[in-house]
Amino acid sequence: MSLFSSSISLRKGVAITDDEFVQLRDFIYEKSGIFVDEKRKYLFESRFRKRLQELSLSSFGDYLKFLKFDSNRKEELVKLFELITTNETSFYRDIKQLDAFQANVLKEVIENIRKQGKSEMHIWSAGCSSGEEPYTLAILLYETLGMEAARWKIRITANDLSMAMIQKARDGLYNEYAMKTTPEQIQKKYFTMETGGWRIKPEVAKMVDFKLLNLNDALALKRVPRSHIVFCRNVIIYFDQDMKKKVINSYYDNLLDGGYLMLGHSESLHKITKAFKPVFYPGTIAYKKE
């Protein structure tokens, strides 16, 4: 005896036609560089279902018209980006990579800046989701520079395609899941416990500028200040080969000589570019602009 009606169906909303799917996919690609495989057609159907209902639209064709021609299309694009981005992240994600980064890459970059008699550093966290990565980088800098940190001028530019994520990052309040890979002493030192979770301390938060940014917007990328280090983890996995090349090239242009690009655990520049020099460490590869 079933508790559910025998007519309960899996389909909950209007179906997307093959033609509409291709149009929506192309639209998303054109606007964001994110490539959606055809296999994910049903996934997209359900992901957009609520949005179509909210807008009282009865087909994906109408939604496409709305996206392209409505007077609110700009605002709708923000919503669209929120629907197509994901946000799996945590503080200290991929500890082995971060250890290697801190002990080698960061140390070398700091030494070089010192040699030039300077104390300024810029890091770009491209695809920062809800802020865990750039805040982790800020903490790593505090830990590495120690007492010296106060004298340094450090800026971390952190970007994401989703406005909701940017707002969450600026808010700086996190749940246990975000903390799952964070060493305990770091958690105690750089966060304060509140009723809603753990809040990043203001001295860390003030190092990071969060800004909405579309990696497909070449002009906007050019406006990002030149960096010593670029972090772009688990982002290019969503791009096709062309878009990967475009984005990686813009990081190359953005990096100062001797700067480093860090990618996600399972990402590499293989088949994308030979411009960088790969430097191998246990658990990670750092890509150096020479």
Partner: protein, 405 residues
């Protein structure tokens, strides 16, 4: 009847069958109402799961909605209008509801995300090792069970000699015991008990029994996978589930030896075990990617690692000189329709979907892979048939699981 983890047991629940220790000793009898002291005993004895009935929880509309949302999440990737997918959805709904009614708590979103394995290091960095490199050490066969080769020899000979096979299998006490448990289980439903390998060969057939022996001897090879990487019990439960469904579906098709399909189902994910061994961190990344994008693990592996577990099994099984028709069904259970003879891979394909659907109510983690266009039509089954074999599956799974592990 519902299977619950020991930490989910509450006082007042009633045992729905005798609870025995690993060595067969009766711990608590069927029908006993569990009190706090019993629960403590179970905990002390290291009992992991218990079959219980009630006290059943009334499911209000809110609870039913939560269950529906939970189950729906596993089906987002699949064609919602496909008759078989719809039936699997309903099956998963009912099973989940009956577990919740018996006191199971739905896992939270966070519990369903993969655990981190930050202390584990991959043996290969991205693009530094393809399926060949990953499978490489595994194909150096010195660590492989000797019995495997001897059975293969028997199987490769033009006429499988029953005597020869009986002699070979009987030298391995563990394997013989597993085979006898299997042929005595509802999996075969023979009326009287079978107490020797030669009797089993006479009843099941030489070729059939060799195939079973070959597949089962392979399992031992994977005993050393670190438990923190993957819940091996869940892994083999899914595998055996897929094996049983494969056999039951194969029985409907003409001219297919259903034992072979059982073994194909049992071993359909072996490539994944090798990936876990060699690429623990990347495998976990693939799991996270699968969860966050609501896609099946197979597709996540391709996105994150660059190739899937079936690409690994292809190399592995070839090196092990596995019977070709068996490898074919294993290596193509995700893309049966591209093959010249898609029937057997399509059987494992459907069985894998069913095993995943059944796994939703066991706290499974990943999206139902979905049924390839044409595969369902090729098999010529009805959705009622899926219900029918579900009952048979449930009768068999526990005994086979206990026969093997």
């Amino acid at each position: 009847m519902t299977k619950l983890r020991t930490d989910e047991i509450k006082t007042g629940m009633i045992l729905s069958c005798d609870l025995r220790s690993r060595d067969g000793r009766l711990l608590l009898p069927c029908g006993m109402e569990l009190e706090e002291k019993h629960i403590q005993l179970l905990d002390r004895m290291g009992v992991e799961e218990v079959d219980v009935v009630g006290p059943s929880v009334e499911l209000d509309n809110g609870a039913l909605q939560d269950i529906e949302d939970y189950v729906r999440d596993y089906f987002l990737y699949s064609n919602p209008d496909h008759p078989a997918v719809m039936e699997l959805f309903r099956i998963a709904l009912e099973r989940t509801a009956s577990r919740v009614a018996a006191g199971w708590t739905l896992p939270t979103v966070e519990e369903r995300r993969a655990q981190t394995v930050d202390h584990l290091e991959d043996l290969f960095l991205k693009d530094m090792g393809g399926p060949e490199e990953i499978a490489k050490n595994e194909t150096e066969l010195e660590s492989f069970p000797d019995i495997y080769f001897r059975i293969r020899e028997v199987l490769d000979s033009p006429n499988v000699s029953a005597d020869r096979l009986a002699t070979v299998v009987s030298t391995d006490v563990g394997l013989s015991a597993k085979l006898l448990k299997l042929v005595n289980s509802p999996f075969y439903g023979f009326p009287s008990s079978i107490d020797s390998i030669s009797r089993a060969i006479a009843l099941v057939g030489g070729k059939e029994l060799s195939t079973l022996a070959l597949g089962i001897s392979t399992i031992n090879y994977f005993k050393d996978i670190p438990p923190e990487l993957i819940n091996m019990e869940m892994f083999w439960r899914h595998s055996i589930s897929c094996g049983i469904f494969s056999k039951l579906i194969a029985e409907q098709q003409e001219g297919i030896q259903s034992e072979r399909l059982f073994i194909a189902g049992l071993l359909h994910d072996v490539g994944r075990l090798i990936m876990f061994k060699k690429l623990p961190y990347a495998s976990r990344e693939a799991m996270l990617f699968a969860r966050e994008n609501s896609i099946p693990l197979y597709e996540a592996e391709i996105s994150v690692i660059g190739y899937s577990h079936t690409a690994v099994s292809e190399v592995l099984l070839k090196a092990w000189k596995f019977p070709e028709n068996l490898s074919e069904a294993i290596d193509h259970h995700h893309d049966p329709m591209v093959r010249p003879n898609p029937l057997e891979p399509a059987i494992v394909h459907l069985a894998d979907n069913m095993a995943n659907a059944v796994g939703v109510a066991d706290g499974g983690m990943y999206a139902i892979p979905g049924i390839e266009d044409g595969a369902w039509e090729l098999l010529g089954l009805s959705s009622e048939f899926l219900r029918e074999i579900l009952g048979k599956h449930d009768e068999q799974i526990e005994q086979i699981l206990s026969a093997f592990f």
